[in-house]
């Protein structure tokens, strides 16, 4: 009898059970727990060179053409909020993920998971909003799927969209391409989407309504590319906001990033709402904003282009990439002292006092 190779038990859950045996909301919050889940479970299981770049969209070559491919799911509550709704967001979010690779978005898919009992009228409103958003973005929704789940097993409607775009530039836009001396730009004021949602959820009323910043950003990025701006990395500022995005990039690029709190644009009403709710505007989600790492020589020109866009009038240079190779983000506070800008742990939890 030939010696049998011992069976290798490798099916153990990679996330130690002693820590969190169940999935918590924080595992989807855009912070450290989510990154741990993605790193130890999904990346470990599916690892390949394209996935491992951990970009918003994967860039691959198909029959000699470079394409970008991405997917995202939308579960936002409330489904309708000032400045947008789950339908338009499902288009903008995926278009923006493609844009982060510098791609021109072409096709989307859309999959609906609908809860039994959802009024047809509500669904129609969402579908119309998706149609209008797709038209505005110049993309077509070319395939889809429909599932209905029992009442109580969903929450109105969840939408997944995947997107394909073509890459027509020769630049390498990935976190790994971030270089010492790069200028760090943000494309507009931060935190409006998250606070628009929170204000509705918490019933907060301000003098004027905070509207979500949900919007497509691919046009402005294509303009940057057309102008020959040397872009090294782009990332949209969704869950976890600027703080998460900068930490992800610092980690992937193995670079220290230096940012100035004073230079970061946050609108006054957003800042006020954050103070009231005990939240950090730098951790609040946006849906139409991104951070760009560009060669220092191009930063002024890039800023001009960003500011020429209606949504980007408050675009700003917020910092630079340091020479040091340790992955870290430091923030110079408004009173001039330095501190770490750390990745949030899980969801932002409102403070007591």
């Amino acid at each position: 009898m030939s010696a049998q190779k011992p069976i290798e038990f490798s099916g153990a859950c990679p996330i130690p059970i002693s820590q969190y045996p169940q999935v918590l909301m924080a595992h989807g919050g855009g912070g450290k727990l989510m990154h741990q889940l993605i790193g130890k479970m999904f990346l470990a299981a599916f690892s390949n060179p394209l996935l491992d770049t951990q970009h918003d969209a994967a860039v691959a070559e198909l029959t000699g053409k470079k394409i970008a491919f991405t997917t995202d799911s939308y579960v936002v509550r409330p489904m309708f909020f000032p400045g947008g709704d789950i339908g338009s967001m499902a288009v903008h979010g995926t278009v923006n993920d493609l844009a982060m690779a510098g791609a021109r978005p072409i096709y989307l898919s859309s999959a609906f998971i609908i809860e039994e009992g959802l009024p047809m009228e509500t669904l129609w409103k969402i579908v119309c909003s998706m149609r209008d958003a797709a038209e505005k973005c110049g993309v077509q929704i070319i395939t889809g799927d429909t599932k209905v789940v029992d009442k109580g097993k969903g929450d109105g409607v969840f939408i997944n969209t995947a997107g394909i775009g073509v890459i027509e530039h020769g630049q390498k836009i990935t976190p790994q391409n971030v270089q010492a001396g790069d200028a760090i730009l943000v494309s507009g004021d931060l935190g409006r989407h998250g606070m628009a949602i929170m204000a509705v959820r918490e019933g907060l009323q301000f003098e004027s309504q905070i509207e979500s910043d949900s919007a497509p950003v691919h046009e402005i990025i294509l303009q940057l590319l057309k102008a020959g701006i040397e872009i090294h990395c782009l990332r949209d500022l969704t869950r976890g906001g600027l703080t998460s995005a900068l930490n992800e990039i610092a980690e992937a690029a193995k670079r220290t990033l230096l940012v100035e709190e004073k230079a970061i644009p946050v609108r006054e009403d957003v800042h006020t709402a954050c103070e009231i709710l005990g939240l950090d505007p730098l951790q609040v989600a946006c849906e139409g904003r991104f951070v760009a790492f560009v060669a220092a020589k191009d930063s002024e020109r890039a800023l001009q282009i960003l500011r020429s866009d209606e949504a980007g009038t408050s675009a700003a240079l917020i910092g630079k990439v340091a020479g040091k190779s340790s992955p870290l983000v430091t923030l110079k506070s408004v009173i001039g002292a330095n501190r770490i800008l750390d990745m949030p742990s899980g969801e932002q939890l409102p403070r007591i006092c």
Partner: protein
């Protein structure tokens, strides 16, 4: 932002720092009581502006941190009951009990809701008559009036499905406990501005006199804190031990009388265990006899939990100002905000969490 940016002015901050440096002739240890102030100090880097040997000691003023482990365990037990909606401030959800935390109880099906005000919990009770709604009342004198108002309203509305798990604590007895300790290094206090907005500051006169220690009622913005430190150093340098009010835009000597009246109506003063410190007599608020029907501990007959803290966690020493967070061997290794050993790491206002979030670089965890 209006009414905020003017308290975060970098140039004025430097001016205060220069003045502190100018008048200081020897080392001083000053304790900020409140976790909100600790958070601001570390977040804005206020201590980095101070001259050497002006040391800020971070006090026990984070209500999340000092809530005793057995109280968290009681909360976990009640929150896991299928007939209960458990309402809490968001901060408390990540605090580890002996075996789990409220976030995990929620993931297992517990109906746990984050509320911004105890009055929201009263609303929940009205909207869900078939459920028991329990509010986790934690905090200092700052949040106590809102808790009192919720109980008062629930009584007026004759809600019999509403109750509270109460772990309110009082600042002045904790200051006295610290000052009576033989290891006490504190030479001056920044008193918590928001506590004083409710309570006024008359109760500090006897403390300042008895222990010859200056007490300056201080706000929470960078310039407030720097001015509070300056006023404390001025007193220390001139040998005075008085009660002064830096935060006069929010604090009156007598405080908020109607809030105090309501607290007196609803609460009675009780001994309270502080996590990391121990039991301090007369340092807590519990429901008065008239409102005993709203006491969740009595209503649910929760077991008396006997618990032991992790031996690796030195949060007691941190809370008493004996060590700085990074001097604990578990800091940043066994103990992180994702997997906290003690409450000072879990609450965003806890000193350990503040140091971990803002100060993990070796060159930032300096001498101060």
């Amino acid at each position: 932002m209006k009414f905020l940016d003017e308290y975060r002015d970098g140039e004025l901050a430097q001016q205060f720092a220069r003045e502190i440096r100018r008048i200081k002739t020897r080392p001083w240890n000053i304790m900020e009581i409140c976790g909100g102030q600790t958070h601001a100090i570390v977040k804005f880097g206020i201590d980095e502006l101070l001259p050497e040997k002006i040391t800020l000691i971070h006090g026990p003023g984070c209500p999340v941190c000092v809530t005793p482990l057995e109280m968290i365990d009681r909360a976990l037990e009640i929150a896991a009951r299928p007939d209960v909606i458990f309402a809490s401030f968001g901060d408390m959800l990540r605090v580890p009990g002996s075996t789990t935390d409220l976030l995990s109880v929620k993931a297992s099906g517990g109906d746990i809701r984050i509320v911004y005000s105890p009055l929201d919990a009263v609303k929940l009770a009205e909207q869900n008559p078939a459920k028991e709604v329990v509010f986790f009342g934690v905090g200092f004198e700052t949040t106590a009036p809102a808790t009192a108002l919720a109980v008062y309203q629930a009584a007026q509305k004759k809600l019999n499905n509403f109750s509270m798990l109460i772990s309110h604590v009082l600042v002045p007895p904790a200051m006295e406990a610290l000052l009576s300790s033989p290891n006490c290094r504190v030479q001056g206090f920044l008193a918590a501005g928001h506590v004083c907005a409710v309570m006024g500051y008359e109760e500090y006169f006897s403390i300042a006199k008895k222990y010859s220690v200056p007490v300056v009622v201080t706000g929470f913005e960078p310039l407030d804190i720097l001015q509070g430190i300056l006023m404390t150093v001025q007193q220390l340098e001139s040998g005075r031990a008085e009660v002064e009010n830096q935060y006069s835009r929010a604090v009156k000597r007598e405080g908020n009388q109607s809030a105090q009246d309501l607290m007196k109506k609803v609460f009675q003063i009780v001994p309270r265990k502080w996590r990391g410190v121990g039991e301090i007599p007369q340092s807590g608020l519990g429901l008065g006899e008239k409102y005993a029907a709203f006491d969740a501990e009595k209503k649910f007959g929760v077991a008396d939990h006997r618990v032991e803290e992790s031996a690796d966690c030195w949060s007691g020493l941190v809370l008493q100002g004996q060590i700085k967070p990074h001097e604990c061997p578990a800091f940043g290794s066994k103990c992180t905000p994702e997997h906290p050993l003690g409450a000072t790491m879990v609450s965003s206002e806890g000193a350990c969490a503040a140091y971990y979030r803002y100060r993990r670089m070796p060159d930032l965890i300096g001498a101060k």
